[in-house]
């Protein structure tokens, strides 16, 4: 019994002295051109990340903070398109079963597009990462709440756009995590 305890104690002390599993990033100057690639590899949706970032003309010269802002801008663009789509569908006078959850979705997306995401983008510019994370996460939650409200239907007329908003949010949050870890 005593020997067992001693052994486990030693094992534990050994484990405790191992370095903690954090990552540190170094981007050697000669690999700057691949920054987008390296950044996107650390996000849950690589292809979506690459296509969103590369479609922005400023992304080639941007640092990680700049990429985060570009991605947050993509989230806003996607949310705006979602809101436009919702309002378009509402304009087509759908049946009550679809109209109610659509109207609810519109109510969720309007403050997201009008306030939450623009404020998150501005916060990124000022280095207020916590504020930005809060806003982006909120946008993702509203997209999820919108989708959930179509209960009973296995899909909704806005499933694809809601999903894109959420995926882009996840990518943006992952990029911000890189920023948070490097300080």
């Amino acid at each position: 019994m005593k020997a067992l305890v001693c052994f486990l104690l030693l094992l534990l002390l050994l484990l405790a002295t191992l370095p903690s599993p954090t990552r540190s990033f170094e981007f050697p100057a000669r690999e700057m051109a691949d920054l987008i690639d390296q950044t996107c590899r650390l996000t849950p949706f690589y292809d979506l990340c690459i296509s969103s970032l590369r479609s922005d003309p400023g992304s080639g010269a941007a640092d990680v903070r700049g990429l985060a802002r570009i991605m947050a801008g993509s989230v806003l663009a996607s949310a705006s398109r979602t809101l436009d789509r919702i309002q378009e569908l509402l304009g087509q006078a759908p049946d009550p079963e679809t109209e109610r959850p659509l109207a609810y979705c519109a109510e969720l997306y309007i403050p997201v597009v009008k306030y939450t995401l623009p404020q998150a983008i501005e916060a990124l510019g000022k280095g207020q990462l916590g504020f930005a994370v809060y806003g982006l996460s909120d946008a993702g939650k509203e997209a999820q709440a919108c989708e959930k409200n179509f209960s009973g239907l296995s899909w909704s007329p806005v499933t694809d756009v809601n999903e894109q908003v959420r995926d882009l949010v996840d990518v943006a949050l992952a990029i911000i995590k890189i920023l948070q870890r490097s300080f």
Binding site: V5, L8, L9, L12, L15, P111, Y115, G127, V133, D138
Partner: protein, 648 residues
């Protein structure tokens, strides 16, 4: 439990006639015996690891697992000297009493840290520590709901009052911000007291608040955001030429406070109200302005009611009589009535009445003069004060905040380090089924906290019995219940008439009740809080339903102020008896008949805490059985915390 079939697996228990005699505290749990030496060493070594890798100490968990060690061994400690005969805090400074010290301070219960920690709410707004009172200047701006509140940054009793500040996107998940205003000018050196916000059509925000000057005179001051493009409205500017309103002749300078949100009159200028008192009558003084810096006292009063005493926290707002939408504060016209509300300093209760506002004469007349402000309906029949509404232009709702004080003592509050909670914000609408009251209902955003639910259908609760509801933890709940009385018609004649129709303790048995729920009750019912309906027959034969909360047996602690709260509630012919309860540790908000009558309760059990707190149905009637159907949700924490404002 996800929608489990209706069943209860606890035996029926008879309600005790008298409270059970106090039992000795539960003995400490024996340490769990382990039979493998390896397991014991792993436990030991895990704690060693936690020391080595230097994890930060866990904050008190909101998940309510019972403490492993004996809760009675870790006692709360405090050091401060009590002096007998002190005034309630606040009175000497000229505001209403904010606490009830009693000579029974000496008999304060031996609270442990675990008991105190349990009292913190999981999803109601409260600061991390210290004293809070009136909600101030609530508003919605650029995607954020703002709440300001009377706050003492230095102590858990009233004093040194500042404006605390918090924001939320959904009225539920609040984030603390830095203090908005502190008493740093001569015109508010005695305290930055209660005030309201007005959103102007051009996008500006103005706040009017009462400042207690360095000579204890109550004046009204103007403040506005330093930077309207900051959505968090962190910095505030006080108008350099404050005060903008001083007490007029004939008004006691210590009875002149709490300016309202402004509304626009037909002439395009703004009006606000300030509450006061003349010859024992509570009054609402009117001030007119076009620019919020120069105000003109109006010759008349909006309204006055004899014998109601000082009117604090006056609130005045329109409600739609033909829709459930909220109305912006300046709206007048057909299909609109106005609610006038006052917090009565003498009684520490919030009263309101519905009436008609004449914008030309600037007067308001109650629909029922016998139920005028201070004489009829209460906003909330429980421990509730200083309520204030605002128009949420984001969702088109009229939203009500209310301050919930403690009912334990100053001594307890200083020991535990905090005092007071805000209610969950409520939507206010006109009840067009009765036509004579408002309805208050928790904002639907609170439902985002719902976790799993349990349903019970048609449970029979026989006369004189209680039924334990098997739901697991019973300290963070959203409960919806409806009751039906079986065979009441023939028995109506048997009901004994009562001379005074008011809530009495739940032990007062009559033919038709009381029946309801026992909340925060331990298994042996040594501590319990009945929330219930009591059907009373008046001497003229008519039946009145009362909705009541009986705190008299809620806690074994002697110094806690415990009484029966409640009021009448209309139950229409086609309606069952319905209740909704939000249970959140030391606060319970109870809504009857969709919010026609509301009671907020503060409860400080010594035994019915953590896993020992249970939920029962009960029926203390002598002559009828009751069936109940319930849906009960476990509620998540709102994780109210500081705003993540860190910069690089």
């Amino acid at each position: 439990m996800q929608n489990s079939p209706s069943h209860t697996n606890a035996p029926y228990t008879l309600l005790p006639e008298d409270p059970s005699p106090a039992r000795p505290p539960a003995s400490s749990r024996r340490p769990v015996k382990v039979f493998a030496a390896t397991a014991a060493s792993v436990v030991f070594l895990t704690s060693l690891v936690m020391l080595i890798v230097n994890q930060s100490p866990e904050t008190p968990t909101e998940s309510d697992h019972p403490p492993r060690s004996d809760p009675l061994t870790s006692r709360a400690t405090t050091s401060f000297s009590r002096d007998a005969g002190r005034l309630p805090t606040g009175v000497s400074q000229g505001v209403s009493a904010k606490s009830y010290p009693s000579v029974r301070d000496r008999l304060s219960y031996n609270w442990t840290n675990a008991m105190f920690a349990w009292q913190r709410t999981a999803f109601h707004f409260q600061p991390e520590k210290n004293w809070m009172n009136d909600p101030d200047g609530p508003l919605y701006y650029m995607g954020w709901y703002h709440l300001f509140y009377q706050y003492n940054p230095d102590s858990a009793v009233w004093g040194n009052i500042t404006w605390g500040h918090a924001v939320s996107k959904d009225l539920i998940h609040w984030l603390y911000l830095p203090l908005a205003m502190v008493p740093d000018r001569w015109f508010d050196a005695g305290g930055v007291w209660t005030g309201s916000a007005t959103l102007l059509p051009d996008g500006r925000i103005v706040i009017l608040y009462t400042g207690d000057t360095d000579e204890s005179i109550q004046v009204q001051n103007l403040a506005y955001p330093a930077n309207l493009s900051d959505p968090l409205l962190i910095e505030w500017v006080k108008y350099p030429d404050n005060p903008v309103i001083v007490p007029p002749a004939g008004i006691n300078p210590e009875e002149f406070r709490d300016p309202t949100t402004a509304w626009m009159g037909p002439d395009g200028t703004w009006r606000i109200l300030v509450g006061s008192k003349v010859d024992g009558s509570g009054i609402a003084l009117i001030y007119q302005t076009s620019n919020f810096t120069a105000f003109e006292a109006q010759p008349g009063l909006l309204h006055a009611v004899n014998g109601t005493g000082m009117w604090e926290c006056v609130d005045f707002y329109p409600v739609s009589t033909n829709s459930s939408n909220g109305l912006e504060t300046s709206v007048v016209g057909p299909g609109v009535k106005h609610v006038l509300k006052a917090s009565l300093d003498d009684l520490k209760k919030d009263y309101y009445a519905i009436g008609t506002y004449d914008p030309v004469s600037d007067t308001w007349t109650p629909d029922d003069p016998e139920a005028d402000v201070g004489m009829g309906l209460q906003v909330d029949y429980g421990r509730y004060y200083a309520s204030k509404t605002f128009f949420d232009q984001n969702t088109g709702r009229r939203i009500l905040w209310g301050w919930i004080n403690e009912t334990d003592t100053d001594y307890d509050d200083l020991a535990k380090g905090w005092a007071s909670v805000q209610t969950i914000p409520r939507v206010v609408t006109f009840d067009n089924k009765t036509g004579s009251n408002i309805l208050e209902w928790p904002v639907e955003e609170v439902e985002s906290l719902r976790l799993n639910s349990t349903e019970f259908d048609d449970i029979l609760v026989e006369a004189g019995s209680a039924v334990l509801l098997d739901i697991g933890m019973a300290t963070q709940l959203d409960i919806s219940v409806e009751f039906e009385i079986e065979g009441s018609d023939a028995l109506e004649a048997l009901e004994e008439p009562e001379a005074i129709i008011e809530c009495a303790t739940a032990q007062n048995r009559t033919t038709l009740g009381p029946f309801g729920l026992l909340v925060l009750a331990d298994k042996s019912l040594s501590e319990l809080t009945p929330i219930y309906f009591h059907i009373a027959k008046s001497t003229n034969g008519s039946l009145t339903t009362l909705f009541c909360a009986d705190e008299t047996r809620s806690s074994k602690a002697l110094e806690v102020f415990k009484k029966v709260y409640g009021g009448p509630v209309a139950v229409l012919d086609d309606e069952k008896f319905t209740m909704r309860l939000l249970v959140d540790h030391s606060i319970i908000e109870s809504f009857a008949q969709g919010g026609r009558t509301v009671i907020t309760s503060r409860i400080y059990p010594t035994e019915a805490i953590y896993g020992a707190a249970k939920l029962f149905l009960f029926n203390n009637a002598t002559g009828v059985n009751v069936t109940a159907s319930l849906e009960i949700w476990q509620m998540n924490s709102a994780f109210i915390r500081p705003f993540p404002l860190e910069e690089m």
